[in-house]
């Protein structure tokens, strides 16, 4: 189980004083069709990029709030971990990118009929964002609009 106490002392001290954002009011959109016919996309904050994409900028103060589009047909095994955090063990997602960006698993869930279909693209963020104002104001709305344009019904979001 993940606990804040498993993090290093300096990280824990930082987080103890950190002003976490609160979502208020909590927006709520019901799924408008059965899951078995829904178009589903993934949003991962594991900092994964494809070999031909720019890695996330780990020097950006407050965190890199940009995102990458990852096509559903991408070869999941080629995804590269560029997450800047040293607070977690990266070996799992480096060994198996599906652990943090489960595109293969989503395809299998479509094949077995749990979901209707896999959206044509997914979105990759790097979640170590300590100053999320630009994420809230700029990139999250742009990212969300892409998935609206794709007529996505549901999104599964995966942190690391």
């Amino acid at each position: 189980m993940a606990e804040l106490t498993e993090l290093g002392l300096a990280t824990r001290a930082y987080l103890a004083a950190y002003r976490w954002r609160t979502i208020d009011p909590v927006p709520w959109s019901p799924l408008r069709k059965p899951l078995a016919s829904a178009n589903v996309a993934l949003v991962s904050t594991a900092g994964m990029v494809l070999p031909d994409q720019e890695p996330f900028d780990n020097d950006r103060k407050g965190g890199d709030v940009s995102f990458r589009e990852v096509a559903s047909k991408a070869e999941t095994s080629t995804l590269i971990d560029t997450h800047r955090s040293r607070s977690f063990d990266h070996s799992g997602i480096r060994s198996d990118p599906n652990l943090g960006f489960p595109i293969d698993r989503l395809r299998e869930l479509a094949d077995e009929g749990t979901i209707g279909r896999v959206n044509r693209r997914h979105l990759s963020f790097m979640g170590s964002i300590t100053a999320p104002g630009r994420l809230i104001r700029d990139t999250a709305p742009v990212a969300a609009q892409l998935l609206v344009d794709d007529a996505v019904d549901a999104v599964l979001l995966v942190p690391v």
Binding site: P30, L31, L35, P102, A144, V148, L157
Partner: protein
């Protein structure tokens, strides 16, 4: 911080009419931030779907999360994943 980022992105998606569910590794962050739907999983940082190369476990976690989308009601909703 990843838990905060997915929560904020989920909120934006919900405001635009897309149903979302977040895997969450830290229950206290889920409770504080209040994403619309959160599945709290009993795994360490870096292992949101349990274990590498364990497709069955990864899919079980995903099914549990996705099934939350089919329930009526209003958020925030936090559920616990049990192996």
């Amino acid at each position: 911080m990843c838990n905060q980022a997915v929560s904020l992105i989920a909120a934006e998606l919900e405001r635009r009419g897309i149903a979302t569910v977040c895997i969450m590794l830290l229950r206290e962050i889920a409770e504080r931030m209040r994403p619309p739907r959160a599945l709290f999983v009993p795994y360490s940082h870096g292992y949101p779907l349990g274990a590498p190369h364990d497709a069955a476990l990864q899919k079980n976690v995903m099914r549990a999360a996705l099934r939350m989308l089919e329930r009526d009601g209003a958020g925030p909703v936090i559920e616990h994943y049990v192996d």
